[in-house]
Amino acid sequence: MPDYQLKIRRFDPESGEAAYWADYTAELPPERSVLDGILQVKDREDASIGIRCSCRAAICGSCGVRINGRSRLACNTKIGDAAAGARDGAITVEPMGNMPVIKDLITDMEAVHWKKVQRIVPWLLPAEEPPEGREYTVPAEAMLDVTQAMACIHCGVCVSACLSMEVDPDFIGPAALAKAYRFVGDPRDGEQETRLRDLAEDPHGIYDCTHCFACVEVCPKDVAPMDQIMRLRRRAGSDFDIKDSNNGYGHEKAFVNIVEKWGTNHEAQLLPRSFGDGSLVKGQLRPSGARQLTAELPTAFRGLRSGKVSPRKALLHPKLPDQKQVRRIFKEIESKGERLELNMYIVGESGGEEEGVMAEGGGEA
């Protein structure tokens, strides 16, 4: 059986010492997990290594850590794969990011994750009294649609990987917002608009996500938290026409309009259009838009001075050579009568015969 080098980040809060790296060796088949490796070290060598773990099957969500710098569950990361992805041959295991560390690999989920979950009002607020002696009648697709968000095991791996939260610790974050979609997408909930308005108006809410895909990449349950955030935005913007005071809606609209027109982002127009719900003219004519634009002028000047922006670049933005194709995609999508939201439970009409499940987010380190 192969030997694997494990470099574990240790921290003993009672020692008064800073965190440090400690080296261990585990001996097990490559298809076993990094968690199995850590448990073997605990079993044989040092039982004082702290890690939360329980189900060993990526169901309980206890063992979120960072392996070789990437946030993941230790139990569904194969140790052989982790070793192949390790620098200097040693697999590094450290506690999750964006959360305080309690001991070794154990983080304070309460202080960050669960506080954020509590923030989104995490219980159903039914529109009406439950029907007597029977269930609510709800479209089958709607339940499947929210099942993806229900599949979240609250492991915190996406919270650990979230780049927006690194910059803005108050960001409600991927897991809690995915949980919010579980209510917004649930036809039984009666407060969808209030929830959406709240999450849109909160400067740390749905428009605080920078669309970086980190949470989608690391989620061990294919919840795709960012997709859920985008769903919240689509519901807020398209279904309820919520125009938030932080211009999140306008920014998104501006981006879409620019891409439709040019195919790539036209930086100089993004901001003015954002202040006008996507329209350049409105953004400049509206008093609020003009005021905000003026406030942003120093940024523009700094850009000019540093050479990041040139007057030429700012005014002329070339279209993509085959911009027609981009327009065609827009037309195709806009011609649909209703929005079709696919997720991991709904894979399209045919069931996607051609692509196998092994390809979807399978675990390499």
Binding site: D43, R56, L124, E135, M150, D222, V357
Partner: protein, 560 residues
Amino acid sequence: MPQHDVLVIGAGLAGQRAALAAAGEGASVGIISKVHPVRSHSNAAQGGINAALDPQDSWESHAFDTVKGSDYLGDQDAIEIMCREAPGEILDLEHLGVTFHRNEEGRLGKRAFGGASAARTYYVADITGQAILHVLYEQLMKHDEVYRYEEWFTTSLVQNDDGRIAGAVTRNIRDGSMELFAAKAVILATGGNGQIYDPTTNALICTGDGIAMAYRIGAPLMDMEMIQYHPTTLAGLGLLITEGARGEGAQLFNAEGERFMEKYAPNKMELASRDVVSRAEQTEIDAGRGFPDGTVALDVTVVPRKRIHEALREIVNVGRDFAGVDITREPIHVKPGNHYVMGGIKTDVHGETPIPGLYAAGECACVSVHGGNRLGANSLLDTLVFGRRSGEHAARAVRATPPPEPARAALRDEERLIGAVIGRASGERRVSELKAELGKTMDKYVAVFRDEDGLRIALEVVRRLKEEARDVAIDDKGTVFNQDVLGALELEFMLDNAECTVVSAIERKESRGAQYRTDYPERNDEDWLKHITVLPNGGEPEISYSEVTLTQWQPEERTY
């Protein structure tokens, strides 16, 4: 000293349901769990929850299936209550927000499950337990009158001089401090004991803590010999493949390509009850018709791909991540593996044990609704129905009870005990070694097929391990998250569980449900249509018996 009318220990489905029910009755409630509630093992219940909700179906049919599934060892009064109250329980959950799968009319959708004469299993894809657990936790977050103690480990129960329950001693895992809780009633909802086996589908936390704590203060344990082996677990790791797969149409084959269930259960085939399917598989494997890794094949590819994605997504992941198999394209190797304990702390239909004020619900309890063999998708139902009943009953029963005054001495004793464990010089053997030896022994001798000789060996090993456990090595000398010392305490709980299981299995000299004795291969209603109960006597389990309650169904021969 924290003080509550009702103290719930364990925060899986039974515990959370009990806490919400007790709070609903106006009691002040505390809920203690050694892990964060959403980490509880109820998460792992994939397939669904049974209820005769369809007007075409009836609770009597559900009850009869359960009685037959139990091999007539289940108490029929309790089974009737569970099956009657099942539809209401499902509707309550739905109204609280559980995202149950719908049919085309937008009504609750259902699937087939083993041992059932109608499709009556309601589900959320194959994450049913998780979905219900998370929705109940939503309610706990909403109802902040239920006080949550998350990541607190209960070490013992405390009684008044008159024997009434008075509280519990706990350790705050986060800072190592010990606390005495005073409570007028205590509801144990600490789950099963699968960790006494290796492999097992059970999580590492399933160490039978509550079962052992209740036993130690003299609450009788019942049906402890009845340990369920689930027919479809992965070899090696023991991870679970839901029975829902067979419910959706998946088939079992031996290495010769034969759909062997035709021989054992020609009518129900793969959907016979679990003890029957597990025995069939083990017979095939033992006869050399299994695969070299000691398994048979489960073929899920017969289920349409769209349906697999919609309804069996979790096991697609389990297959991919833990066996390297795409179950939508090829069969996956499975074998019978430890899954569930039908036995546990003996309770009445209100969840109350013979110790006044002490209740138990869920897998740690034995009402007994599962008897010799639990039907798939009846465990979630058991946790919810009897969790709620315990919570309600406890809250009402203690209204006039004066506040208990548990003796401080109990706290000091436990502090001294744990201090001694931590302070121990290096012990002979490690917790992990003892645990591994226990698990392998149980899986070898107290498994699908058992006999007197093997059981005697197991008993000898368990008793030796009990001795050795008093002196295990502890590496962690700290207070914050000292998982090492908790592991040593859990090991002692596990050994009490194992001893009671083995002793009961030796005692039952017949084959019924999950207990199959190769030396007594027949069911013997004349001598053994009774529960075996155990109580501690001088450190060893003492056997007594308890009647099986029959209401409308007389024992019959059991075929599927």
